[in-house]
């Protein structure tokens, strides 16, 4: 058992401790006290000052200072304004926001009301993907309970402050996590991004000033009010304060949801909290930032995690997906996987993203089939640069990152695919051959009987052979053989 406690639960303070469907349990853990404090004793300017002083930055990935965003929206003139919670979590393998909404929905409701008070808004909207039925159910229940208790609605805490929250459902398009696309989707339009400026803080939902924050960002707010900006800013690094929630996944022993202070190293996360790599395999890379991020090698294991350090290392914080890869993962295939994702999720509005990513994917596909050339690697780099420079929104601007970071950190693997037509990790089927080692084969016929395409021939008790022209590389023979006679070359 570990001695030192590496995690600090701020955003997840109630997750797993309270019944999310009982408002009293949230109240018992100081719930809605921050809202009461703000409404009854502090001006909106004072609250915004606290959020600014705390150093809280957007946890959805962008890292924009939250207090500044609130201030900008407050300064916008029109009478109607909106508070939007971005719960359109879409990175592969990420489930931070879902867990917060399922485990502690009131923390988000309370923070949205505080935000409404600060920016001068009476209406909050949660944009949540329809694929999160349980989170929706609990959030709805929580909103109903808050209304019943008078913590949402009219004259909250007898101060005359009015605020209510409604839900808007997303159909699960990745691009709708981008705030302008999200707003269009809420308006009933196609989920396509538009050029900024104007920023949502000036013209957002229905053309009105709109403050969009991520679920985890909101979950931090009540604690900052209750414990003070100074308490919050004691944790973290110089420019990144507080903690970050990560969904730790991949080839790691303790897959899970963790929350660590900013400045914790990747090594501490992977080896101490995560319990190291599965089956004692060697660590190869860790992917952060989802399809917009990059793969970091063991050289970066001692990098303290914060917004700036991860960008400097060639990846990004992102919303908190962290996927660990071991020696058996092929980095070209990983890049191809992320490109497939972006390709599916690109809205198609701008050409660099729609067509550029398609071309990137085709080149990667060629390389994994052993048909790539050195020129292809050069083209990947050039095309990536163009897509990054010319795409309309964050999705396109960051989509080549997995390609660029794998080329930068694992160029030898690309070269092995291109020059030697080999996949060092043994993942690219087209570059592999299953062969039977004659001296180990006992002629038991097990592989012969299990081969689905009849590619294996041989007499009983004599060595068998695989016909490479027929073999579909399903690996059944490899798994079935009891004598380790089949190897991958």
């Amino acid at each position: 058992m570990r001695e030192e406690k590496k995690q600090l639960r701020i955003a997840l303070r109630n997750c797993g401790f309270i019944d999310p469907e009982k408002i009293e349990e949230y109240i018992a853990r100081d719930g809605y006290q921050a809202l009461a404090t703000c409404l009854t004793g502090r001006t909106p300017e004072e609250v915004i000052r606290s959020i600014k002083d705390s150093g809280l930055r957007g946890r959805g990935g962008g890292g924009f200072p939250t207090g500044l965003k609130w201030e900008l929206t407050r300064k916008s003139e029109p009478d109607k304004k909106y508070v939007v919670c971005n719960a359109d979590e879409g990175d592969p393998g990420a489930f931070m926001d879902r867990s917060i909404l399922e485990g502690d929905p009131h923390s988000v409701i309370e923070a949205m009301a505080i935000c409404g008070y600060c920016i001068g808004s009476d209406e909050g909207l949660v944009y949540i993907r329809a694929e999160y039925p349980l989170a929706i159910k609990r959030l709805k229940k929580a909103i109903d309970q808050a209304r019943e208790a008078g913590l949402l609605g009219k004259d909250i805490f007898g101060t005359g402050f009015v605020f209510d929250i409604n839900l808007r459902y997303g159909a699960g398009a990745f691009v709708c996590g981008e705030e302008t696309a999200l707003i269009h989707s809420m308006e009933g339009l196609r989920g396509e991004p538009t050029f900024k400026p104007p920023f949502p803080s000036v013209s957002g939902y229905m053309g009105k000033p709109t403050n969009v924050n991520n679920v985890e960002t909101f979950a931090n707010v009540p604690v900052i009010i209750n414990k003070g900006a100074e308490w919050f800013s004691k944790t973290g690094t110089e420019k990144s304060k507080g903690t970050k929630v990560f969904a730790l996944a991949g080839k790691i022993n303790n897959v899970g949801l963790i929350e660590v202070p900013m400045g914790t190293t990747l090594r501490e996360v992977i080896y101490e909290i995560g319990g190291g790599i599965k089956n004692n395999k060697a660590f190869k890379a860790v992917q952060t930032g989802g399809p917009s991020g990059g793969c970091l090698t063991k050289d970066f294991l001692d990098t303290p995690i914060d917004y700036e350090n991860l960008i400097a290392a060639g990846s990004m914080m992102g919303s908190g997906g962290m996927i660990v890869m071991d020696e058996d993962d092929c980095m070209v295939s990983i890049a191809k996987f992320y490109l497939e994702f972006t390709l599916e999720e690109s809205c198609g509005k701008c050409t660099p993203c729609r067509i550029g990513n398609k071309r990137l994917h085709e080149i990667l596909d060629k390389i994994t089939k052993g048909e790539g050339t050195l020129d292809d690697i050069k083209r990947l780099k050039e095309l990536s640069a163009v897509i990054k420079d010319t795409s309309l929104c964050g999705l396109g601007q960051s989509s080549p990152n997995p390609v660029l970071s794998t080329i930068a950190n694992f160029e030898d693997e690309y070269l092995a695919h291109v020059k030697e037509k080999k996949c060092p990790a043994g993942q690219c089927k087209d570059l592999l051959q299953y062969v039977i080692e004659e001296d180990k084969c006992t002629g038991c016929t097990l592989c012969f009987r299990n081969c689905p395409v009849g590619a294996i021939t041989g007499e009983k008790r004599l060595p068998h052979f695989i016909d490479q022209a027929l073999c579909i590389k399903c690996g059944v023979c490899y798994e079935k053989c009891k004598f380790d006679a089949i190897k991958l070359v």
Binding site: S99, G103, E148, G158
Partner: protein
Amino acid sequence: MQKIKSKSGLLAIREEVQSRLNQWADPDSPLQAVQIKVGMATCGIASGAGEIMKFLQEETEHQAIDAVVSQTGCLGYCYAEPTVEVILPGKKPVVFGYVNKLKAQEIIDEYIKKGELIEPVLPVNFRTIDE
């Protein structure tokens, strides 16, 4: 729930719930009760937490154990779902992992009734905001 009209009204509810929890946790209180919390986020439910929760409810009732079985969100131990936290009066919370029906029965028979720990107990590897 009645309408909360002021900060003092909010604090009154907080006190009320806290004192109830304290009584449950107090081994000298006549109202003491074993608190059993089942991790019922999507991850837990997917690995069978719903069934475990139902079993714990039925079994504690059947055996007439003073217990409050409730659901909670995700504690983060995805690798060991379903997870069950047990707070015995006067004791620190203990989180059990990989709980199937057999393990749930063991938790009741060994830990709740006799106070004897059974494996696997999951490590508390985090600090809270109050530490």
